[in-house]
Amino acid sequence: MDYILFAAVAMAAAALGTPFFQLNRARGRAPGYLLAVALTAAIILVALNTLSPQPVPEFGTLLTSDALGGLFALVTLSVTLAVTVFSLPTISIRANGPLYYSLLAFSALGMLFLSYAADLLILFVAWELMSLPTYALAGFDKNRKESNEASAKYAILGALSSAIILYAISLSYGLAGSTQISTVVRAFAAQSTDPLSMIAILLFIVGFGFKMSIVPFHMWVPDAYEGAPITISTLFAAATKKAGFVAAIRVVLVASTVYAVTQGSIFTIPNIFAVLALLTMTLGNLAALTQKSMTRLLAYSSISQAGYILIGFVIFSYAQANPAYALDGTIGMTGALFHIINHSIMVTAAFLAAGLVLIGLKRVDLGAFEGLAKRAPITSFTLSVSLLALAGVPPLNGFWSKLLLFLSVVNGPYAWLAVAAVLNSAFSVAYYVWIIKRMYMDEPESHEKMNEPLTYVLIFAVLTALIIGLGLFPQLGINFAQSAIP
């Protein structure tokens, strides 16, 4: 069975089918349900494929079928499913609801292809297929100025990053004479002293860096997350961002496995990643401390979490040139992949909880969270658990992936990165716990109960169970992440 092919067909069918509901006057929830069913089917197919990988002959050498792709496809499709279900009550009553689901489906299809991409061309096509619908989705609240701004800003910087990636691809093609990633990587290795290969790799880091939201390519993140509809911000933080990581792993990190470092130079790929990691987590945390709006705070928090993930990239690429650190590299990459899974879960929970507050109270500035525990106990609990997990408090899932990441660099040349990461993690608790304090210890401005409909409560229950479950039984996640190391 060609599981991936069928998963792609399911997604394409949903993407092409949902707009037809636009013809019908009584639109209702049907297109949303259709997309949810297609996503569920695709998730099951991808999961089956991850358990017993099948080749995909229909796509020639364009797609691989490995566990790494499975991990990212599962993460991104599951996040899209959560976003779809969460959107049901609010989007379904809108006139252009079916188009919303269609755009979501196209984006999910892009992320599915991107996860499995083995060729730079399909990688780029999938990248655009993922990005273009999200530019429209960011501006979906078309009567709201911030939403338009988010869309415009995101589209311009997105186009810039696409152009950079395309330029890097053309350089790679010039070096390798092929767009097959494995061939390109070998060409990089053979011409490791050629400045062109270094430039190509740097351009890839910059291009993917926009989506990964690493500093200094993060400027669009807070505005886009704040302006876009909150369900779409969830998609940005938990899904499209992760797609940026898979592209970076497939091209840059695998390139660094054979990329011979110039003797005596400090301008090496692990060093570049180390500096980016330090900047990303420090700036993200510092900026998050000063935010007054929940969505902006989560945006900066999500930037800083990208910094932690990069730690795994640092030690993994360092280990390629220094076999003595092979074990550290494996632990670090396991931690990075596990943190990608965990961060998706945690940030989805946090954003969706904030989304429900936005629906219920019509505002998400931090003041809205004062005394929330008395008005919306389930939302407050979900948000608290996800924030504690983001801070890395045991025994929740975020703790284990951070533990592995810190462990991987604590001995060796990047020990300073471990110290910086630990201090960052320690200070980040200030703004995470500040919100919990507002919810549980401050007095609400009114005691009116906030409505917590069953659909949302179910999503929250699943996400909370995942955060606590993976925290108590981390073995499942760690083994899965380790099996996906390229």
Binding site: L327, T330, I331, T334, L388, A391, G392, V393, P394, P395, F399, W400, L403, L404, F406, L407, V410, N411, A418, V419, V422, L423, S425, A426, F427, V429, A430, V433, W434, K437, Y440, M441, D442, P474, Q475, I478, N479, Q482
Partner: protein, 494 residues
């Protein structure tokens, strides 16, 4: 494989959600069930305490060991490894006893929103039991952090007027300290081959040169909890804003976590570096003792005074532990372990009495409290008794503990004998407080608003172990001796 210690951790943790549901349905019967859970835990704690006394583990060894696989992956494995020795068994007993007392005390003192309150108390107890019984560094860390979460809510939701500030300050201090501590654990993991997080495997195996930074990192984590000056500034806020039964646990048990960690991990895993830097730590201990005593002298409010008294008493633990590291004489360490146990009950009784004074008189400002011997005679009597215990007067066990620590200090260096001034100062300010609060004449038309007999009886229970221990000090000192000798052995003493 012995399930006792696993049960000791599991029963309060499992009882926590049960307590929430039951207290929500019916407060009185729910509290009764919560108390029953705590009593069962106390039974297990008494058993393990007695077991350690009856079968004292050999030097550097543990008893009642139990091991359960938790995380097992190709490159990274963690077992739930439990064990006790003469260092942890008294602390387990103190935790279990104080939790029972705190639950009884909360029945009257805590009113609003009680369903989560009692559940959080049990969660706190289970987490602390985990800290004292885990012999795996990661499991230890997991429980260590888990202690912080219920405490944050207990202070921030049920505390005094400035509770939010106190809770945030508490959380940030403790979290920063403990994440720094995590670095030490991670570094230790990669230092020995095969990789391990198990304390028994790591002890004595970490190369000398690699011990300095982990020692420092772990010490910072523990110093925040103990607390040691200059890491103490969260303490007066947290102790005085927490509701009285919670302050009992904070001062009595949570501070002992710091002392326990310093002895078990900072000294136990990094002995070479600890011996090299022992003088610095010893001096920090002395500074903490004097600082606590002098600031308490100036305190204008009972809870703050007791908070600094607790700081002053925990300074003895640091002082005693490092006196043994320096001199190679076991006395200081034995005194330190004794002091942690004794301090749990002394500090507990002081904070509980302060809680009742707050409830009955509406204030704990020393200047506004007058003539307690007339207005609340039972409370005043208990206050005097508790203060006596804190002054280290015989017949209270605290007398032995402080004598042992100071004598141990003199073994290290005769000049440290100056610390004998600390109990003198403590006695001085506590007597002065009693003179101002208890012995002054009451207002002319006063009403007697004393605590009920039943509560007074529970409060007297705090003091019973202290009096018993001056006679049966062997209960603690016999199992503590091998722990102290193990430290002497590790740090290269005679």
């Amino acid at each position: 494989m012995n399930p006792i210690l696993a049960l000791l951790v599991l029963i309060p943790l499992a009882g926590s959600p049960l307590s929430y549901l039951l207290v929500k349905r019916d407060r009185e019967s729910g509290i009764a069930v919560t108390l029953a859970v705590a009593l069962v835990t106390l039974g297990l704690a008494v058993y393990s305490f007695w077991y350690v006394y009856a079968h004292v583990p050999a030097i550097g060894d543990y008893t009642l060991m139990g091991s359960y696989q938790w995380v097992s992956t190709p490159n990274f494995g963690i077992d739930l490894l439990f064990g006790v020795d003469g260092l942890s068994s008294p602390l387990i007993l103190a935790t279990a006893a104080l939790t029972v007392f705190a639950i009884i005390g909360s029945r009257r003192l805590i009113h609003g929103g009680s369903p989560p309150y009692f559940a959080l108390l049990l969660l706190f107890e289970g987490a602390i039991m985990g800290v004292f019984t885990s012999l795996n560094l990661v499991v230890f860390y997991v429980f260590w952090e888990l202690v912080m979460i219920p405490m944050f809510f207990l202070i921030g939701v049920w505390g005094g007027d400035k509770r939010r500030y106190a809770a945030m300050k508490f959380m940030i201090f403790i979290f920063v300290g403990s994440t720094v501590m995590l670095l030490a654990f991670l570094a230790a993991y990669l230092d020995v081959s095969p990789f391990s997080f198990d304390i028994p495997t790591l002890a004595g195996k970490i190369p000398d040169g690699l011990q300095y930074l982990p020692l420092l990192a772990s010490f910072i984590g523990f110093a925040v909890k103990l607390p040691v000056v200059p890491f103490h500034s969260w303490l007066p806020d947290a102790y005085s804003q927490a509701p009285a039964p919670v302050a009992v646990l904070l001062a009595g048990v949570q501070s002992a976590m710091g002392g326990y960690g310093i002895i078990r991990i900072s000294i136990g895993l990094f002995p070479y570096a600890a011996a090299q830097w022992a003088w610095a730590f010893l001096l920090l201990g002395i500074v903490t003792m004097f600082y606590g005593a002098i600031v308490a002298l100036l305190a204008k409010e009972l809870k703050r005074m007791f908070a600094y008294t607790s700081l002053n008493h925990m300074g003895f633990v640091l002082f005693g532990a490092f006196a043994t590291v320096i001199s190679g004489n076991a006395l200081g360490m034995e005194g330190a372990i004794f002091q942690m146990f004794v301090h749990a009950f002394t500090a507990g009784s002081l904070f509980m009495v302060a809680g009742y004074i707050q409830q009955q008189a509406g204030t704990t400002e020393i200047s506004q409290l007058k003539g307690l011997r007339n207005t609340m005679p039972r409370t005043a009597g208990l206050l005097v008794a508790a203060a006596g215990a804190a002054m280290a007067l015989p017949p209270f066990g605290s007398f032995l503990a402080e004598i042992a620590v100071i004598a141990g200090g003199i073994q290290a260096n005769a000049y440290t004998g100056v610390t004998v001034l600390v109990p003198v100062l403590t006695g001085g300010y506590l007597l002065w407080m009693i003179r101002r609060v208890v012995l002054t004449p009451a207002a002319e038309h006063f009403q007697v608003r004393d605590m009920p007999w039943l509560d007074a009886a529970t409060l007297a229970m705090y003091l019973i172990p202290l009096i018993l221990l001056i006679v049966f000090s062997a209960l603690i000192l016999t199992p503590a001796a091998p722990v102290a000798q193990w430290v002497v052995h590790l740090t290269g003493g005679p």
